[in-house]
Symmetry: C2
Subunit: 244 residues, 2 copies
DNA sequence: CGTCATTTTGAGGTATTTCAACGAAGGTGG
DNA sequence: CCACCTTCGTTGAAATACCTCAAAATGACG
């Protein structure tokens, strides 16, 4: 993939953005995209913009902390390898998400791109240094991580459900919320594979298949090409999502 | 309960502490108790120390953000009320844990004390103000929330397990790690009720009962009085915990 | 157009849930 | 001090939903 001048021009962004929600109440709508120009510039100066093809590993769990990442474009997944060899996807990450915040100098999850992705990587040292000198910027990170914590809790609620169709519906609902930022096509993009879904939902691959089937059969959702879904019966969908 | 001078003297602490783990590698052992004296003092100046009897509600989900809390002593649980009326415990919180970080000005969980508890409450405004002026202190919060995020991910892994005994064993293992700070009695304290355990593990109350039974019958763990447990067969226990 | 990977479908096994009833524990009032 | 009541925890049996194993079908890609 040769990098053409034209391709560069398409790049409207001038640096990393972070997406989250503030602690305190913001005026209606409350732009969920954090970072002002100054902060973006400072981050951009530290960051290296890298592009990965789908299925690339950004880093592996238990390896030494090196970079902290901000996702620019594309979708990635964070997962853990279990002793049995099975995988548990702990989160799907979207543009504006931060990852690579390690613990005791080691990454906790493995992160792999789901689609082609561009991400900003920043060496740990300079970033923590910057955060210590720019409290407002750091506060954006604090909001971001807190938001990620909420997402994790929602994930836990999904996993505690007993019915596969309900779990899938909740995931679709969460993905749909992400969509809102973009064009309102009514379609929910599903860039990840069925296996990825299964590992996120804590189901077997077959159960995911049967769940999509059930949703289709009941006329609630349609799937197209395996990587897009659309809610047909909104009432039934919402009922299923909140039926827990 | 009259407050005697003697009782006050028992209070060794001079203010709130936070417990977490740093991003980067620390020298061995790395005291997981954050905050230096200066930071504690500043927090203490903003904080109000309050004591609650067991089963008190600190705040309810969806109510307006008011205080942010740091747990001093005791155990509390955070949970969400589901449409069906069921509850999902999202976390058990221990001394040094922070809670009340809301989203868009509203609390996300309900928090209720499990035991008698003393906690430090800090008005949101002054705290965020302090954080914006003390980046190092804020960094401790950032580490703390990140650590909470990891806990949440472990919780998700627990929930994705299929066997009740294994889930319970993982929870016991996590509680045991918390214990280490205190006296090495070999006992794992279980201040929460069976119902609390069930709501955390995503199991029915009956299944928790059967799971404790299974662990006892298999000679892996013994339970005493319902609020304490001890690992008898460490090898089998570890095997069960990591058998996923 | 053939090959490999992914997804779907089928049938039986297993673990948890649910419903119901019993037992234990703690607190209250007579 | 004891009876009563309410909450919590335990035990049993049937039903449900997912998992596993196996094989066919679909789709992607060179």
């Amino acid at each position: 993939m040769a990098r053409t001048a034209g391709a560069e021009q398409i790049q409207i962004e001038s640096g990393p953005l972070i997406r989250a929600i503030q602690f305190e109440h913001n005026a209606h709508g409350s732009s969920q995209w954090l970072l002002n120009d100054s902060q973006r510039t400072k981050l951009a100066q530290l960051a290296t913009r890298v592009t990965f093809p789908a299925r690339s590993i950004a880093y592996r769990e238990d390896t030494p902390l090196e970079w902290i990442f901000i996702l620019g474009e594309g979708v990635v997944k964070a997962f853990r390898e279990l002793p049995s060899g099975k995988r548990r996807v702990t989160a799907f990450l979207f543009p504006g998400d931060v990852f690579g915040l390690a613990e005791n100098g080691r990454y906790v999850n493995t992160v792999q791109t789901v689609t082609n992705a561009t991400l900003y990587k920043i060496a740990t040292e300079p970033l923590t240094e910057l955060l210590r000198h720019d409290p407002d910027l750091q506060f954006q990170f604090l909001c971001k991580v807190t938001h990620a914590l909420r997402q994790g809790q929602r994930h836990a609620i999904v996993l505690a459900r007993r019915d596969a169709a309900g779990r899938l519906a909740m995931l679709l609902s969460m993905l749909e919320e992400n969509e809102v930022a973009g064009s309102r096509t009514g379609w929910i993009q599903l860039p990840m594979s069925r296996t990825d879904l299964a590992e996120y939902l804590g189901l077997s691959l077959e159960s995911v298949s049967r769940a999509t089937n059930a949703l289709t059969r009941r006329g609630i959702v349609t799937f197209h090409g395996g990587h897009a879904a659309r809610v047909i019966d909104r009432a039934a969908f919402d009922k299923l999502v909140t039926a827990l």
